[in-house]
């Protein structure tokens, strides 16, 4: 009898647990529907949730506004990002006569994108928020979470201050929807100058020269490229640089518009080169499992077991803050041209502005929020950005910069005939995911370039068909 009771108890327990586990499963599932997000949301930003709700309500009708607090979400949680992004908020709160105050709510980079989507889906979008522009920003705009800013740009005379390319990346459907903030970041190759000297290597100007450098390094037992491709966007930069140097910008732009195709020769070339380089051992072993966030690529540079690193130029700040002595050894060059291609080699890949502020409020509040963003172009802000190793996306940035490598990057940016935003940011998010996945598989040699191109193209066509 006792055993029977125990059995029944055990079964009952199993049943309840299954149900409750299934329920947990649902809760996890349900982060995808609306209901529960408010909870996750509330956990992460409990203190401002109420305020946002109030703000949001107010911003919907725009006019009546008892709450004079502007909520500003960004990614400045630490280091240089924090200093630069926070600067405008502190200055605005000190100097403004608008009667508004801005509340700064920073969230860590990777969590940030998700937090923002969750907030928007539950109708609690902050009044000001930063994004990387491109595909996701367009989604925010299409969903009504950003305001056109052309008039305000005029009023504050901001248009003349920014680089053309910066404004281009803040534009959607011919209207300005965002204010660039704190950095110019281009894809380029950092190299160890000492190592190059030691082995008598010259800075390459063509891909075949680059390959000769790689072979020479390889012969000395050094990994040519430090790359950590677990997050996928790091490897995507190689693909993007190779494709751009082979075919210029036209094939990409045509493919995105649906007039061309991602099976184009230049994407084929990029994929083939990547696989050729993987086979030749130009990348570290296990490249697809190395984590960029944990600094596994830069460690290879610091250990001097790798000679070069292709990444965004925010790495100047990373190198110089990790180790000023190591930074002395670092040189930079723009991705070399493809030997037999006549594509414009001045074209750069990257972001001019890095973080772009968009606004989800109207009337006086929008005016005040925009005023806050204008502090990013104040002399103090620009000086601060330069001091922490960033390049302000303004026309006069060159007057402030003294560091050699940074100056080189700025020159590349100003001399560029065009700057293409990162593929993974520029493409519609669903297509970007396919690109990242297939690109990683090419690095893993588990997918051929033609197959990857086909999948890439299919995803793009599906997106365009659904539009």
């Amino acid at each position: 009898m006792k055993k029977r009771m125990m059995r029944i108890a055990a079964l009952a327990m199993a049943a309840t647990m299954t149900i409750s586990l299934a329920a947990c499963g649902d809760k996890a599932d349900d982060t995808s529907s609306s209901g529960n997000e408010t909870k996750t949301e509330a956990e992460s930003g409990a203190e401002d949730a109420d305020k946002e709700a109030a703000n949001d309500g107010a911003s919907d009708d725009g006019a009546s506004d008892d709450d004079k607090v502007i909520t500003y979400w960004n990614i400045g949680t630490e280091g240089a990002d924090k200093e630069a992004l926070e600067y405008a908020v502190t200055e605005f709160n000190k100097n403004t006569e608008s009667g508004y105050t801005v509340e700064n709510v920073p969230t860590q980079n990777d969590k940030y994108k998700e937090k923002l989507v969750i907030a928007m889906s539950s109708g609690e979008c902050p009044d000001m928020y930063t994004s990387w522009s491109g595909g996701p920003m367009n989604e925010y705009i299409d969903s009504g979470y950003a305001q056109p800013l052309d008039d305000l740009y005029e009023e504050f005379g901001l248009k003349d201050q920014y680089m053309e390319a910066a404004l281009a990346q803040a534009t959607y459907n011919d209207k300005l929807y965002a204010v660039p903030t704190y950095n110019v970041s281009l894809a380029g190759i950092f190299y160890n100058k000492e190592m190059f000297e030691k082995f008598n290597l010259e800075v390459p100007t063509t891909v075949s020269e680059l390959e000769a450098v790689c072979d020479a390094l390889k012969a000395e037992g050094i990994t040519p490229f430090a790359l950590a491709n677990a997050p996928k966007w790091t490897g995507s930069m190689y693909f993007q640089c190779l494709a751009t140097r082979k075919g210029g910008l036209e094939p990409f732009q045509k493919a995105v518009a649906g007039d061309g195709t991602f099976e184009d020769e230049c994407f084929q070339y990029a994929g083939e080169k990547i696989q050729e380089w993987v086979e030749k051992g130009y990348f570290p072993e296990g490249v697809n499992s190395l984590s960029e966030d944990d600094g596994q690529a830069k460690q290879l540079m610091y250990q001097e077991t790798a000679g070069m690193l292709l990444c965004g130029s925010w790495y100047t700040g990373t190198f110089s803050s990790d180790s000023p002595e190591f930074y002395e050894k670092i040189g930079w060059f723009s991705f070399p041209k493809v030997d037999d291609s006549d594509a414009d080699a001045s074209i750069q890949n990257g972001t001019i502005g890095d973080q772009f502020v968009s606004f989800n409020c109207t009337g006086d509040k929008l005016h005040a929020a925009f005023e806050c963003a204008t502090y990013y172009t104040s002399d103090g802000a620009k000086q601060l950005m330069v001091d922490v190793g960033k390049i302000p996306p303004t026309k006069d940035a060159g007057d402030l910069i003294t560091d050699g490598v940074t100056k080189q990057i700025l020159d590349a940016a100003t001399n560029a005939s065009a700057v293409q935003l990162w593929y993974d940011q520029y493409l519609p998010p669903a297509v970007a995911q396919v690109h990242l996945d297939t690109c990683q598989e090419m690095f893993g040699l588990t997918m051929k370039p033609d197959e990857a191109g086909k999948k890439f193209e299919e995803a793009m066509e599906e997106y365009l068909a659904g539009k």
């Binding site: 029977r4 125990m6 055990a10 079964l11 199993a14 049943a15 647990m17 299954t18 586990l21 299934a22 329920a23 499963g25 649902d26 996890a28 599932d29 349900d30 982060t31 995808s32 529907s33 609306s34 209901g35 529960n36 994108k113 998700e114 989507v117 969750i118 928007m120 889906s121 109708g123 989604e139 925010y140 299409d142 969903s143 979470y145 677990a230 997050p231 996928k232 570290p284 072993e285 296990g286 490249v287 697809n288 499992s289 190395l290 984590s291 944990d294 596994q296 460690q299 290879l300 998010p429 669903a430 970007a432 995911q433 996945d437 990683q440 598989e441 893993g444 588990t446 997918m447 659904g466």
Partner: protein
């Protein structure tokens, strides 16, 4: 008199009902708000073409579901889930049972093992994920370092699509085996002392006691452990998300990571919800079937 009795009984019944309603209300409300409503909402959202943030989702009926049935990636993820499920049950429960048996038979002397073995269970999945990402890194990770000491090359378990999933399953087993150990230890305490004594008097040795007496008596415990492990593996998310993010390619993509990416990274909340709904249906079906099979045979001791 008779009339009064009836009404008294009725009154008592009424009171009982009222009290029951009051006591049950919080549970019912919680269930509705946090479980039933979200489930229904998931199915509703799955019929929308919605990026998750706009205010004007389009109703598209069952299009997302049709797409789901034809979506190779979802079924790859489902297969991966099934692999995780089968291997989790096959690894974690026997291992947990073995550990529990050791602890049980060794008595007080083995308390230290009980504590040591339980430690992985106390760590958060995210911490474990990071820990093993470092341990398995080709760039100075412990596995590769050992292999190099022994004269081999780097071992890239997580970056190789052929081994990534099994590596993750191994780490999941590392994390959850202690749970099943404790579960089985609890099962052992329910096997009464008299049964053990009786078997010893009858001349059974430890091996015979385990195979012929303890194991059959632990069956219900093992069954419920299997169900727990099964449901847990089918909805697994955190460790995989931290360690591989579903990569390389889609080698370690699970239904939950796929759903998450669709909903939050790709702005496709409608289809993401369809995946969530599909997951819900599949998990429920598999759980119900398994429970039915496991509980089909009624035996008593």
């Amino acid at each position: 008199m008779k009339k009064g009795e009836v009404s008294l009984a009725k009154k008592r019944q009424k009171d009982t009902n009222r009290v029951a309603a009051i006591f049950l209300a919080p549970v019912v409300i919680c269930l509705i708000v946090y479980i039933f409503y979200p489930i229904i909402e998931t199915f509703r959202v799955s019929m929308l073409n919605w990026n998750g943030i706009s205010t004007d989702p389009k109703f598209i009926g069952l299009d997302n579901w049709v797409k789901l049935l034809q979506d190779g990636k979802f079924w790859t993820a489902f297969l991966n889930n099934i692999k995780v499920m089968i291997l989790s049950i096959l690894i974690q429960i026997p291992l947990g049972l073995a550990m529990a048996t050791f602890v049980e038979f060794a008595g007080k002397k083995a308390t230290i093992f009980k504590i040591l073995w339980f430690i992985p269970m106390l760590m958060s999945s995210v911490a474990i994920g990071f820990l093993f990402t470092y341990a398995l890194a080709t760039n100075g990770g412990i596995i590769s370092s050992i292999s190099q000491l022994l004269g081999g090359g780097n071992i890239d378990l997580l970056g190789n699509p052929k081994t990534a999933l099994y590596t993750v399953i191994g780490v999941v087993a590392w994390q959850f085996t202690p749970f099943y150990m404790v579960y089985c230890v609890a099962g052992y305490t329910n096997v009464s002392e008299e049964v053990y004594e009786a078997s010893v008097i009858d001349g059974a040795n430890k091996r015979q006691y385990f195979w012929h007496i303890a194991l059959p008596l632990l069956k219900p415990t093992i069954k419920s452990a299997a169900i727990l492990s099964m449901v847990g593996s089918l909805k697994y998310f955190d460790l995989v998300y931290v360690m591989t993010g579903g990569g390389p390619g889609d080698a370690t993509e699970l239904m939950a990571t796929y759903m998450y990416k669709l909903s939050f990274a790709q702005f496709n909340m409608g289809y993401g919800s369809a995946v969530a709904g599909g997951m819900f249906i599949l998990i429920s079906l598999i759980s119900l079937l398994t429970m039915k099979v496991l509980n089909g045979k009624k035996e008593d001791y």
